[in-house]
Point group: C2
Chain length 278, copies 2
């Protein structure tokens, strides 16, 4: 007999992308750090036949593992859910847990319509998110400053302080127009904002990074370069800290936090009005 695996299988079953199910499941599973999980995604389960196939997959994996699979389920259709509920698994049913109480509180039945999340439920909202992504690309790394007047936020920082991924995330997740401008040693030497940025100072936000972290990141890009040297990193980080203080600009240390945390913090610190997502 084949030896059974000792990781815990986890399934994410959804009628659409499964991204909500995965974020939800991931947040929960990080609370159980000692257990090894093995991830399976089953998106687009939107027919009885597909639900049956998904159920077969879950049962097959259940046979090969020492542990009962966990199934994070965000199916909306009752008949598909029933098929999944009959598998040899522990089900964490997202809609089952929350939709009923919400129906009671809101005094109205839910629509039980699939695909309203992470789809194009509102064309205008979706297009403005995509426009924001294009905006971030066109206004990345100081390549153009002509559209700064339309920016919700303009990030400044030294090279490799995390500006670009943060702008892209602000655009993709929140539909915000985020530009960024890299500050070189020459830009910072006199301690003031470059002239080109001065008209927009109410929207400018500084990303700080500590020298050892900057050194590590730059080394992984251009090993043993002057650009990546600890001395250069120390010089630039010192200069930007002085400039931000002198100019009294909102800022955040990005050294040890994720792009999601940086983006959310910027929105909070700059009191940016997020576009409606409904």
């Amino acid at each position: 007999m084949k030896k059974k695996t000792n990781t815990r299988p986890v399934f994410f079953v959804s009628d659409r992308t499964g991204i909500t199910a995965e974020n939800l499941g991931h947040a929960l599973l990080t609370q159980f750090g000692t257990i090894k999980f093995e991830h399976h995604s089953l998106p687009f389960i939107d027919s009885s036949a597909k639900a049956q196939l998904a159920a077969d997959t879950i049962n097959k994996v259940a046979q090969t593992s020492q542990y009962k699979p966990l199934v994070f389920c965000t199916l909306i259709d009752n008949s598909y859910r029933k098929i999944i509920n009959h598998t040899q698994s522990h089900i964490i049913d997202f809609f089952d847990a929350f939709i009923k109480p919400l129906e009671t509180e809101l005094g109205t039945p839910s629509s039980h319509a699939e695909g309203l999340s992470h789809g194009i439920s509102n064309e205008g909202v979706y297009m403005s998110r995509m426009d924001a992504v294009n905006y971030a690309l066109k206004n990345d790394d100081g390549i153009s400053t002509k559209e700064y007047i339309d920016a919700d936020v303009i990030l400044i920082g030294v090279s490799r302080s995390g500006k670009t991924p943060t702008c892209l995330y602000l655009a993709m997740q929140f539909g915000l127009r985020a530009a960024n401008y890299p500050l070189t040693e020459a830009d910072m030497i006199n301690g003031f904002l470059p002239k080109i940025l001065q008209p927009y100072r109410d929207r400018i936000f500084g990303l700080i990074i500590n020298a050892p972290r900057l050194h590590t990141i730059r080394e992984s890009r251009r090993q043993h370069s002057q650009y990546a040297s600890m001395q250069q990193c120390q010089k630039e980080t010192r200069l930007i800290n002085l400039l931000l203080e002198q100019e009294n600009i909102n800022s955040l240390d990005s050294s040890h936090i994720s792009v999601e945390e940086i983006a959310t913090s910027i929105i909070q610190l700059m009191k940016i009005n997020r576009p409606s997502i409904y």
Copy 2:
């Protein structure tokens, strides 16, 4: 007396970014399309004082609305949760609903540690996501093909078929290396893949778009141009469909689906092994 508002206030309360709470809440609220919601984010609630401030905010809004606020809560700390639970609101408590049953099933207590989701819980995983974002930027729009050997997927399609946002999303959400190459009329006229792409055909995926949709998108960028004309859009979409068929390349119609749906479908159709997120 001031008239009360007739929208339903919704709060997203989290000890970290609140992004999971918002995705979760958004998925649920889209099931109640007839109700108008008003969105409030309260991220980084990581002390009793902040929890008390959040509770005060919720209670203040509750006074001004006809409806009891909904509170989507992903706080992990029990004492902060208690503070929020005492507000005049309907609480949808994410951890309360799922953590207890998971502890039982997994046979181990949860760590009750904050900030393990959407933070840098695993440095290596996080850095490889950021590397993937850099990869997408460096290999966008055919600007370079030198690193195609490292690609998980290479998207091809006509200009404005959604390649760039899809690549960025594949990188940011899933840590996948996604390049893209735009096909012009000249590239497609003989019906074969451009030579430069031929060595990578096992990783190539086509994004299709219908002519009216392409026309609308291009018009919003370059109004009344030859590039945006319906005739040009019809010509290019016909050519790419022929090429994809002739070359037998996997593809997907992106006309009416979101970047999240496109990305998830590509992973499924190409059977791409996603890097572990744990």
